[in-house]
Amino acid sequence: MEKTYRRTDVMYLPALFLFAVFVIFPFFEGIRISFTNWNGFSQKFSYVGFSNFKRLALDENVRIAFTNTLIYGFGSTFFQQILGLSYALLLNMKFASRMVARTIIYLPVLISAVIMGYMWYYLVQYDGALNEIVVALGGSKQMWLGSRVSAVGTITTINVLQFVGVSMIIYLAGLQGIPGMYYEAAEIDGAGAWQRFVHITVPMLYPAFVTSITVNLIGGLKLFDAIMALTGGGPGYASHSLATLINSTYFGSQMAGYAAAIGLLLFVSILVFTVLLQLVFKKREVQY
């Protein structure tokens, strides 16, 4: 048995090596760079202490990006849970084409976020299909990505629609794990549909809630591809998330040190939100 465990440990080595090279090392290197004035491409730079972090605290564009990040994360997650649970409840019923419906709703998850972003871009651009519909209905062309509200709203909507399938699958699995006898017993006791949902379905789905919210929240907070495909973070700095602002600061403004500092802010934010989430959603599995 001991020999088997040692052989198994050896098989972890490639994964550990890759993890060290592509996650651990860049993480500590990023911390180091955040204390420099490196421009991202020169072989020369200097250490500048905490000046990047002082600047970060006062930078209005970082505040805008941080707010947008919260909208992309929490806003998307909120609507994904409502829609995802609704789809799961509907598609958990027995009807002829439910497998087809499940596949159609889940398919966008498999598409690259960049491709999804570009597909939607050609729909919502000024001369795109959406404005053609608006004009056909008697309205005038709109710049759907031309202001902060419309740009952030459009990006959030597209993110919700693309990844709602993830929530649906998680909730479907949760629903199918609820023993039918609880519903039968509740029906016998005279409980209505809403009472059965509130007192049986919701408590039993608690682990699924935690998983779905955690997965979607982290994905939303890290949103990058769709933003780059739709707006590039603009107009101006209006639709940047912290992730895209890091990209813009590094490559556009040539301030790699400052970009690394923003990266640390993103890391700490996601860590804090994830830990808070775990504390709020303490495991309360319902045992019958």
Partner: protein
């Protein structure tokens, strides 16, 4: 035995994962054989200048068996080049798009000893020479840029470009163009193409800040004492154009392709770009009539000017494993037929002068004649701003256009980035 097999399998897997992810780009061939040279340039493959570079490479390959020159373009050229510089792993030759001295010189080999060095056009030479007198690129052509226009639209609107000397004259012309239902100026404006807005600033800022010999901020911009409140008239001009209806109606979503397409189609009168925009317009309408005029002055006590600078330039990576061969290819590029071909496709004068060097300026010849003697100034952001502020110009410009930034916020951003990039 089984334990040994496991160890071997784990070791092989680790090695395979490490070496399979590598790229041999830029490494020297292990033994003598065909030489491969990579040339990276910034114009996309759809542009004429890329196609010309491919033709030059093909001609070289045909006449030099054993050497293969490959021309490539990166989708995000500047970002990719910055990553490659950080890794010190660059193409053998690459275009520097205006930044041969300020950004790329650390990685380029000086070319003062090349046979074509003495033929460099005196107009472009100061722009590509560093403070130690070193030149790092071969200039195929040079930007002699003003405000491009569709001559047919101006004629229909009753505008004579020769009467436009100041921005007030320009606005009056825009009003006439607008009156006939055409778009006076196509600015692009899409945040994903925000360089189109940065370009507007590169064209307009000099007239307010540097061209007037009697009142300018040339030294303040260079020594770091510039008061950024003086940026306000430049930024406000963009907003004024928008509010007057002189810009394309989709001014926050218009793309670079739209500029050429609509200029070519006769929907737009003016475009504030180099003459390469005329090349783009002609792709959509080869029979159209296009021209360019000097950039107007901000006031009557100044004169219109031109914008000069690098256009298509090639340098050699100083650590290229095939540097000798790369220099030979560069020598081939410097031949009159190749320089002329590139300059002609861009509608620009040649970057080298002397017997045999001349570009066919075609329909633009009368306009080049008209601007003879007009003062030229280098690209504003390249000469007067630290590297990295081009992005600030682009972003604050789109921010103002979309009302997601106020004038004060735009000025503050420019000031903060200027100070930060200067190390303050």
């Amino acid at each position: 035995m089984k334990r040994m097999a496991f160890l071997v399998a784990a070791g092989f897997l680790s090695a395979a994962l490490v070496f399979a992810s590598g790229s041999s780009e830029g490494t020297a061939p292990a033994k003598k054989g065909p030489v491969s040279i990579t040339v990276a340039i910034n114009p996309p493959p759809t542009e004429g200048s890329f196609k010309v570079m491919e033709e030059i490479a093909k001609a070289y390959n045909d006449s030099h068996p054993g050497v293969t020159v490959q021309v490539v373009n990166y989708a995000r050229y500047e970002d990719t080049m910055k990553t490659k510089m950080a890794a010190n792993d660059l193409p053998d030759l690459f275009a520097t798009h205006g930044w041969s001295v300020m950004r790329y010189s650390e990685y380029l080999t000086p070319l003062n000893d090349q046979s074509w060095f003495s033929k460099i056009n005196p107009t472009i030479k100061p722009v590509i020479t560093d403070k130690n007198g070193k030149v790092f690129v071969l200039p195929f052509d040079m930007d002699v840029a003003g405000v491009a226009f569709n001559a047919d639209v101006l004629k229909a609107a009753g505008v004579d470009y020769k009467t436009i000397k100041t921005w007030d004259d320009f606005k009056a012309a825009c009003a006439k163009v607008k009156a006939i239902g055409k778009i006076p100026v196509h600015i692009g404006g899409n945040p994903k193409d925000d360089w189109t807005v940065g370009n507007f600033y590169d064209w307009t800022a000099p007239s307010y800040l540097i061209t007037n010999d009697k009142a300018n901020f040339r030294s303040q911009l260079k020594d770091g004492t510039f008061d950024w409140n003086n940026w306000a008239p430049v930024a406000k001009m963009l907003v004024d154009f928008r509010d007057a209806g002189y810009l394309n109606p989709d001014y926050t979503q218009g793309t670079w392709e739209d500029v050429g397409k609509k200029l070519g189609a006769g929907d737009v009168a003016f475009a504030l770009y180099g003459n390469y925009v005329i090349g783009e317009a002609k792709r959509f309408n080869p029979a159209g009539h296009f021209g360019f005029m000097p950039v107007p002055a901000a006031s009557k006590d100044d004169t219109p000017t031109l914008i000069t600078g690098e256009r298509i330039t090639l340098g050699v990576w100083k650590d290229s494993p095939v540097k000798a061969e790369a220099l030979k290819f560069l020598e081939f590029c410097a031949q009159p037929e190749n320089v002329n071909k590139m300059a002609t496709i861009n509608g620009n004068p040649t970057g080298l002068v002397g017997p045999g060097y001349s570009s066919d300026l075609g329909d633009l010849a009368p306009y080049f004649k008209y601007v003879e003697g007009v003062r030229g100034f280098g690209y504003f952001d390249r000469e007067y701003l630290p590297s990295g502020m081009w992005d600030s110009m682009c972003k604050t410009g789109t921010g103002l256009l979309s009302n997601t930034m106020t004038l004060d916020q735009a000025i503050a951003k420019m000031r903060n980035d200027y100070n930060s990039l200067r190390g303050k």
